[in-house]
Amino acid sequence: MTIENSQQGHLQGQPRKYNSMLVTIVTESSLESQLSRELEGLGVQGYTITDARGKGESGSRNAGWDADSNIRVEVICSESMSETIAELLEEKYYPNFAMVMYSHGVFVLRPEKFK
């Protein structure tokens, strides 16, 4: 057991309790600025965007150039916010854009930072 684990009272091999949600969105990079504005509008405190590539229903997206690139947006937020994000994406972007979203619980330090 590491010092950090023992301080928080967790045993190795046991799932930690989560205190926030991690929402991950993989989508077309052309959406980057629009999506960032949208998330900020919802009141998300922060997000991380990385370039991504892969293959899916919309074909191979190998990031060779702008129109073929993907991004991965990660947002740490509260459970209710993750639902709000999911609803917005499903209604506004899922019909016409290559997009995948998934979320799961994560343990973060300073959870009050992520609303």
Partner: protein
Amino acid sequence: MIEPIILFFVLGITAGLVRAELRLPGPIYDFVSMLLLLTIGLKGGIELAKQPFLILLPQILVVFVMGLILPLIAFPILRQLGKFKRADAASIAAHYGSVSVGTYAVAAAFMETHNIYFEEHMPLLLVVLEVPAILVGIVLAKGLTKETQWGSVAHEVFAGKGVVLLLGGLFIGWIAGSDGLDSIKPLFFDLFKGILALFLLEMGLIAASKISSLHKYGLFLVVFGVGMALLSAVIGTGLGLLLNLSVGGTAMLAILAASASYIAVPAAMRISVPEANPTLSLTASLGITFPFNVLIGIPVYYELAVRAHAIFRA
């Protein structure tokens, strides 16, 4: 004599088709295309400084109108003969009304190799032609609804990489003039063809990836990609004659008309007409029209301009 840069394009297509492990890293592609855009802008800017702007106004106006008309011709063809959905037809039409800087760069290299004079302020017309087709495309797809967020469309168009770098280059060239640019000449002007060769290698790879998905969309897209380029070239040649351009300038205008966008328009259409399938328009513009123009079109359009001048100016 075959332009070596064309061979780089052929190499890219071949490597792509045999699925070679080859890819220009994203940031390098960005860098290479930035250099090309800036160089083209700078060259145009130097020439702009030499002549009063007012003389160019009729040309700007005519080219703008050409940008409005080309998608209006393409749209009914795509709708009636191609049986495309409205949004798809509008989006493809916008691609063909706008312009490809890559094709322009290859054409400029062609003119240089063959010592053909053309009006060097052509990059200004290139910028002008980028915009109108996008507006027409959006209106064709959606009509004039309030739903369209014209603010973000304008931002996408005018703050896009292409327009900013071309206009920026024009501006810097215009202010600094030919002598002022001497110190940066080695990077931008002397390396132009080498940079273009790398760019074409990557374009070949991209074109190959589009060509391999061509079979899904049938013969019509192929016929349209070539036919629309030829038709637009004839219109461009006619307008070149009307504007009293030189033979080289007329050929350049034909090439601008014949080329199809693959940077500015896809980005703008994705945001404003998301229901249009981007694969369709990019397959047409990159898989068919770009290779056709680069490999066959440019010398053909030049020949067309030569003959048109011989007939109508005799």
